[in-house]
Symmetry: D2
């Protein structure tokens, strides 16, 4: 089946990745900090750059970098979602060949340093490892323009020391795993949620609410499998936050193995574990409202 058809450029995109923008608000002595990693991706009429090396439609990625910084000043970085919408809109509205722009933002957490019990005005300590994310897509010119916002959190490491089992699973001739009715459940979650709409609510409040919901359901769901836990987390998030259309959860099962102390005549009643690195289970779930508006190119990288 040797192919003989002409060769076609079927997809292309380009941008500037990982612009490390730090923005302070210094209106008064109590400063505010926004610490973000911004990536821009443009799609549009760029084919000639590939096929002929013709750059006349290509806005340099260096200019895209400038815009990531410029827009952090004004309209500013009050919320990463509004910032990303404005930045995406800039590229689509102001740069002719651009048909759609995607803006990815990672936002790092900082906690004010405490001095004599009071929060310091201009000093912070990094909080992590969890990172808040946003992925905004703006597509189309003028009245036909559409926008999608995906909020998220990543590197959210959760662990529970009981309330988790794994049993009654499918077995075949190669299955050696013993069922367990009490195990450690741990994961480093990546969760993304697509908004059905923009506006009418506070981005930060919704983020805090979804994060709290994810943590709560991880804690309170008696887990028969990580699959079930993810489903419970996703369902609760969609139920409590009606502005959400869809949620995607990706979760490594970070295995903790009971350490065999019995060979040394020591009893290990679920107290001593070895935290393994690799391999790990890898569980994914996508949940959506049946009446969710279409995702369009929201999930396109």
């Amino acid at each position: 089946m040797a192919l003989t058809g002409p060769i076609v450029l079927t997809d292309n995109r380009y941008g500037k990745a990982e612009n490390r923008v730090v923005r302070f608000y210094k209106e008064n002595a109590r400063h505010e900090i926004r610490d973000v990693n911004v990536s821009t991706t443009l799609r549009g009429d760029f084919e000639a750059a590939y096929t002929d090396g013709d750059q006349r439609h290509v806005l340099p990625t260096d200019t895209q970098k400038h815009m990531a910084f410029v827009y952090s000043k004004k309209p500013g970085l009050d919320t990463i979602e509004d910032y990303a919408i404005a930045l995406g809109k800039h590229f689509v509205d102001s740069v002719d060949p651009v048909s759609s722009a995607r803006i990815d933002v990672d936002s790092y957490g900082w906690q004010r340093v405490s001095v004599d019990g009071a929060e310091h005005d201009h000093t912070w300590v990094r909080q992590g490892p969890e990172v808040r994310t946003a992925a905004v897509t703006v597509a189309g010119k003028g009245a036909a323009q559409r926008r999608w916002v995906i909020g998220g959190i990543k590197d959210l490491v959760l662990l529970k020391s009981t309330g988790s089992e794994f049993a009654d699973f499918l077995t075949d001739e190669y299955t050696t795993l013993a069922p367990t009715h009490d195990r450690v459940l741990a994961s480093s979650l990546v969760v993304q949620w697509r908004f059905a709409e923009i506006g009418g609510f506070d981005w930060d409040e919704v983020y805090a609410g979804i994060r709290a919901t994810l943590l709560e359901l991880f804690a309170t769901t008696y887990s028969k499998a990580l699959q079930q836990t993810l489903y419970a987390m996703g369902t609760a998030a969609l139920e409590r936050f009606p502005m959400l259309a869809e949620i995607r959860l990706s979760a490594p099962n970070k295995h903790h193995f009971d350490y065999d102390l019995a060979r040394f005549d020591i009893e290990n009643k679920g107290e001593v574990f070895w935290a393994a690195d690799r391999p790990y289970g890898s569980i994914h779930a996508t949940l959506a409202r049946a009446d969710a508006p279409d995702a369009g190119i929201a999930w396109q990288p």
Copy 2:
């Protein structure tokens, strides 16, 4: 626009990631090594595990791990593509609820150690950073079964010290970049190619040929932009290897900035550069034959 529709599990998958399998062939004194990182991903009738915690359809990821090792023994790891096809087929053919299986393999390179000018029989030194990859999908039971093979290479770091320019690009009021007619071009490439067919050629030969083609075109193409270089690389690969349906190239533009020595009265004629980390340009291209067979779920993670 508060959504009220029922919540639906619209997608799910699970598997065991990063099984570090090392396989030796020791039929004679001159041993052979295969050093791979294998991830398995299953799709199928697993909804009850999410919605009800019912594991009766769920083959443990621990069993999937066993299979990655078992299949490295037999049929073996002669080529990662045939190994991945066999492993994927096992899950679809032998495990009832599985509708499709995806097997991802990273293969690490090793070079025989040289002793007195001769290659040693059983000692190697790691080669890198580049990694050979394969992503195989097997879907459907019996006669309806389909298979897709995606070969690839990642962390392929290339650099050329001349023969690259970037000029005549689009400018706006925020563009400060000066055009250049001689710059360093460097990237750490991720390339994946989808095969139109399976069989009738040697996996290793085709891999070596595509790799050589990518390197050659990067070297010999006078580059008016990284976009053009990627297009030239992809076109040549498709032209020379008619068993390929499609190729995807992803390339950070690893910037090397001229270091300003003139302020110290030292001339820098394209000799001294600062290699920057972030931000970096990010360029993508997908090329396909117009008569390529459909990709089906080949690119689904």
Copy 3:
């Protein structure tokens, strides 16, 4: 000056690195977690293993691994310092050829998940990136035995948005840096403190106190250089905690560069910065009490 003297094994050591021990306390419904990374290093009469391949004095690193887990059960991991002392003592006291043992512990932080305003009994979310450390050395048998404890913290990322300058520095013909009287000061600190004594205080309280002191001084010291800030932090720690003999501070100067927005007619009043990765300044300071007991082999890896 070709050397002709005999070749001598002048130093050697061996151990098991990065044992990932997770220990729960489950005496009641409110569980406690200790999540640590333990490395053991032994010195002693092991020369024959090197020179002759004679293993008769070599306790396998596999056995050392067992002990890291065994000792987490009993005496347990109430504090990492007491755990490390006990583990180190075990090797020196029970394994004949061992003359000294060093135990390194990294301790990861976890915060209880909050559900309806209450702390959950058995679910946590990882806190970081900062990590608490301990490095304990036990040397010598019987009455001659000595012990050293080094506490510490690493990956402590601090930032202040004002209250920092760098001016009036040495200049030469290659110096182009402009003095600044208001800059961002940021670092990812590694700090280690050597205790003059063991016992008579609470390890956790002292740790919390030193951490708070480091944060406070970073915040409140008007900084004329990172050097001065480190000195202020170290001095305060030694002054407030008389059980400390010595403190070592290692601090990359994580540069934040003003982003030039003036070229776009936008004023940047210390609001918009680019956070650079490399290169970075690298500042070190060691402070000690003049009457500190000798460090012996406490700092030997």
Copy 4:
């Protein structure tokens, strides 16, 4: 034992870390590349910067960065050792308060791309993961000046599939490891060698020779333990290269565990292994000529 003595700054140093210098030689069409990561560290009369925030003796790390680039132009980066000596000498000779300078260089390997069987003039592909290193210290002014050069290699990953055992080791009540007379031996080596002298030989030749020696001895030594292998490697290097005073080898024992296939009625004759990440053995050896000149501050970071 509360300490009451005055607090003293007992050690300090500062510099600029990880200057990513790329230097091309373009005298003719066949270009040459040097790709290095340079860190500078200065010691000297800098105490006032710590105690009083007085910068008058402090050469900015920004200026140190400039010098790393300036010196790559001239005298140039023909060898990293001569470059580092010149750069270190610059700081000590030209900057009054500097008493000693340490220059650390990592050098990344590049291989010319092959086009139609010929090496390309100006295009390369990265080789790794191994990295060549140098650590040079220059101390003292004028006639009293001393210099030390430490060469090295890191991330040198070696593996042998047979010719390695571990047996007849010390056992205690906690030892469960079975002796083995045929195992995989693998490590990621960090090796550093101190030169007894400077000059009279070719840096690149000696580097290539030591690297080849390390590989050869790893391959040809029947290993009764990694300790013995390191000793054999170090001894051979010192014996063959009389300009070396001392060699330090640091080697994780990267465990490869036989995968138990017998439970599936499959024979595994040393063919299928699981490559584990953590924990790992950690073995160190230092060998020196008995008549080696003193190391002075050569090993001081």
